[in-house]
Symmetry: C2
Subunit: 289 residues, 2 copies
């Protein structure tokens, strides 16, 4: 695996592989690699002849008071893990390589990114769509992989690619869980022992609510109300949201059909997100991913 720091090096490396008619794949990441990231990389490497992963903690997707400074950075470890997961080129630029002084252009999805995480993180998805646009333009991949853990991000990116006609296929990667059901996240390392032990309670409640809704035992609104109370009681955290969503991320009701339950939980200083499909089952809806 090659490590590069500049856009020019990426363009040169990719151009050679493209001329050799290899399929180019991209996995955008912020590092702090865990099995979730590695699963996306392996998925990409299985589809592409040349897999690029980016490792860039993107400042413009963090708001004031968020964890930009403390976000886990372990580049040496990440390099070894990426190489083992089939990445051919790791692009780890400095902030001033990615953003020219006085940069003033942004990409914004104005609908799917407004609610859920977007409501409490203004500017977050604008930062995501802007940096992903840049990465798509630098790498020019044939396909790019985004994990279902960040469900809203995945939907926003799919919408952006459709609306702006990016010539890339967006592939959904699975949500990978710890053996006790906690969704893997680079932010899980922030949890102290007791909160780490309580955190999987969110997933257990989401799964039961999803089964109740799918089986028709409970109305969506009743299932959500009970699940909200139970998650906060079990985890000791404060729910930022817990919503039933259709396939377009709109609020689901009985008629429209519920496709996902999605939640954000503030647990101490740590913000955790999770989602399960309705009906539960399939990738990401069991502890084994």
């Amino acid at each position: 695996m090659e490590l590069v720091r500049t856009k020019d090096e990426v363009r040169r490396a990719v151009a050679g592989r493209r001329a050799g008619e290899k399929i180019i794949g991209l996995v955008p990441t912020m590092g702090g690699f865990h099995e979730g990231h590695l699963t996306l990389m392996r998925l990409c490497a299985g589809r592409a002849g040349f897999t690029v992963a980016s490792l860039f903690v993107n400042p413009i997707q963090f708001g004031p008071g968020e964890d930009l400074e403390s976000y886990p950075r372990h580049e040496q470890r990440d390099r070894e893990l990426a190489a083992g997961a089939g990445v051919d080129l790791l692009f780890a630029p400095a902030v001033d390589e990615m953003y020219a002084p006085g940069c003033s252009t942004f990409v914004e999805e104005t609908e799917l990114g407004q609610g859920l995480c977007g409501a409490s993180r203004p500017g977050h998805f604008r930062g995501v769509t802007t940096v992903v646009t840049k990465l798509l333009n630098i790498v020019q991949p044939d396909l790019a992989v985004f994990g279902r853990k960040d469900l809203q991000q995945l939907m926003v990116i799919r919408r952006m690619v459709r609306d702006l006609d990016f010539p890339v296929e967006i592939i959904e990667g699975p949500l990978v869980r710890e053996p006790d059901g906690l969704a893997m996240s680079s932010r899980n390392v922030y949890l102290d022992e007791s909160r780490r032990a309580a955190a999987p309670g969110m997933y257990a409640v989401l799964m039961r609510a999803a089964a109740q809704i799918a089986g028709g035992q409970r109305q969506i609104s009743a299932a959500l109300a009970a699940a909200r109370e139970e998650i906060e009681r079990k985890t000791g955290g404060r729910l930022e949201y817990l919503e039933a969503l259709d396939n377009e991320l709109a609020a689901a009701d009985e008629a429209a059909g519920c496709a996902y339950l999605a939640a954000a939980l503030q647990l101490g200083a740590t913000r955790l997100i999770d989602n399960v499909r309705v009906p539960p089952g399939g990738s990401g809806d069991g502890p084994d991913g």
Copy 2:
């Protein structure tokens, strides 16, 4: 010259030429072709092995009350002119081919697009940057040509390409004038006879003011004040703005250096823009273009 209506046809046509190692060039237009457009096309065809022109009156760059409905549409004539100017592929999509129902993603340059035309046309440059992003993603050209007539648009597009890392070279095309000095514009056809006769007064005054500033005979502020009064008197129009600008479109003062004078004039129901370099001279600063 081939005429196509769909993005897929463009992609297929361009892919074949790219595989043949041809340089791909793009000239985005809204039709109503005059010698200004044709000059950009010839310039592009001279640099590229395969020249694509788009012909699309982009609704999202028009504001309420602007001339979206009345904008000149003469496709048959435009086809013949484009073919004669070296265009290989003319992409003339319908609105619903370009914009999917429920499209919600926009590209916005937040600095250079704010003043001048952006001040009176909120959302205009957001519409331009969004449609140009789409065209760049559909055609994936090596180079794209934008005329200096739309100076602010050229600067906004250059900034967008830099900020978002589009793999394309932006080429400035000359500003082409009628024999009497009026900058060519698709909107000139809106002018009645007396206003058409008065309109070149703006250019004559701009040139004299540019010469005075460059020669040091007048301070910038004094030259602008005199020119504002004279343009309105000579043309019978109302100036929306007349500004002295540096190379980054910021207001120029004696110390910073003036690179352009740029103006927008409301003449009856018609809005005309123009600009000259300081010092005057070179492409676009004489009646012969």
